[in-house]
Assembly symmetry: none
Homo-oligomer: 133 residues x 4
C-alpha cells in the first residue's frame, strides 16, 4: 500500500476547492497522512480563521478513528457511548461533519478535513475531495 | 477597508462601558482586530476575574467565525450541527452571548467580547459597543 | 491600602503611551492588579502582535514575584539560581526587561508590562508608566 | 495594501519548493497572513513530521515580530535582551533560522516559515520563497 503523497493531497484539495467554489462557500481544507500528520492545508480567500484549526482536527479525527466525523458525532452526543470524546487528545477530536477518511484500495491511508460553512456544506466538500483519490 | 485602530477600540469600549454602567453590572470588555488579535481590554472595577479570558475569547470567536457568539451557541448545542466546537481552537471558542462582529461599511473588521453578567446583560453591552463603530 | 482601579490603570497606560510616542516605538501595555489579574491592555497601532501575550506575561511576572522582569532575568540565566523559571506557571513568566511592579505607598498593588521594542525601550516605557501611579 | 491571498501563498510555496528540490532536502513550508493566521502549509514527501509545527511557528513568529527568526534568535540567546522569548505565546515563538517576513511594497503582509533541514538549508529555502512575492 503506497503512502499518501503531497501530490495526492493536492489532487484531493483541488477537488475539494472545486466543490467549495461551486457552492460559493470558501473553506479551510486539510489533509493528513496515515500517521495523522498534516501533509497540506489551504485556506481559501475569505474563509473563517477559526476554521483553520477545525479543518486540521477533522482530518486528524477521521484518520485517528477511521470514521467520518459526522458519524463519530452521532456517538458523541450526551447519553451516547462516546460522549466526552471531544475533550480527549488535547482537544484535537472534532465531532461534527466535514472530516472523512481517505481510502486507497479500501485501506485508510489518511484523513481529509473541511471547515468553513454549515455542516452540510463542509460534508459535501469533504466528500468531493475524498472522491478524487 | 481601513483596519481597526486603538482609537476605534476605545470608542467601542467607551460605549460598552456606558451601557454597563446604565445596567449597573461591571464588565470585562475586549476588542480584537481583523486577524483576531487583541487591541484592547478593560475590566471595570468589581467585574469577575473569570470573565477576563471569556471576554477575549468572545471577541476572538465573533471574528473567527464572523458571527455573534449567541448565534453560534444555538448551533453548538447537543445534536446541533456545531456541537463540540467549544473545545476546538485550544478552547478559545465561546458559545454564549456577548460576542459580536465589528463591521465597517458592511465588512467585518474585528470582534467585541463582553463578559461579566448574565447572557442578556453581556449581549446588550456588546451591542451598545458595536453600535458605536 | 486601596486596590488598583481601572482609573489607575488608565493613568498608568496614558503615561506609558506618552513615553512610547516620545521614543517613536509602538507598544503593547498591560496592567494587572494585586491578584495578578488583567485590568487593562492596549496595543498601540503598529505594535507587534507577538507582544500582546508578552506584555501581559511581564505584568503578571512583575506582580507574581514583586520584582522587575529585567532583574528576574539576571537570575534566570543559565547557571544562575532561577534558571528555568520561564517555563514554570504554564509559560507565563517573562524574564526580560519591560515588567515592573506597581507600588502605592511602598506596597506592591499590581504589575505593569510593556512589550514592543528593544529591552531598553520596553523598560523606559514601563518606568514612565509606573511613575504615574 | 492588499492582503496576502491563497494565490500569493501558492506562488511563494512553489518558489520555496523549487529551492528545496535544488538542495535535495524535503521541507515543511507554511505561510501566514498579516494577522498571523495560516493560509497554506505543505509537507514535501519525506520531510520531518516534527517540522510541521515548527514551520508554522516560524511563519507566525516572523510576522508577529516583523523579523527573521534567525535575527530574533541572536537576541534570544542566554544573556541577550530577549532570552526567554521562546517560551512566550504558548510556545509559538521560533528562534532559529527559517522564518522570514513577507513584504509587499515594503510593508509586512505575512510570514513564511520553512523547517526540515539545517538552519542554513531552511534559511535559503525561506529566502527563495519570500523573494517570489
Amino acid at each position: 500500500m503506497s503512502a499518501l503523497t503531497l501530490a495526492d493531497a493536492r489532487t484531493i484539495i483541488a477537488a475539494a476547492e472545486k466543490r467549495a467554489d461551486e457552492i460559493g462557500q470558501p473553506m479551510n481544507i486539510a489533509v493528513v497522512d496515515g500517521g495523522g500528520n498534516l501533509i497540506a492545508h489551504v485556506r481559501q480567500d475569505g474563509a473563517w480563521i477559526g476554521s483553520i484549526d477545525i479543518s486540521i482536527s477533522k482530518a486528524w479525527t477521521a484518520r485517528a478513528f477511521d470514521i467520518q466525523t459526522k458519524d463519530l458525532g452521532d456517538n458523541a452526543q450526551p447519553t451516547q457511548q462516546f460522549f466526552g470524546i471531544h475533550t480527549t487528545n488535547g482537544g484535537k477530536v472534532a465531532i461534527f461533519a466535514g472530516g472523512v477518511p481517505l481510502l486507497r484500495d479500501g485501506v485508510v491511508v489518511g484523513g481529509l478535513g473541511v471547515s468553513g460553512g454549515s455542516g452540510e456544506q463542509d460534508q459535501t466538500v469533504a466528500e468531493a475531495g475524498a472522491g478524487a483519490l
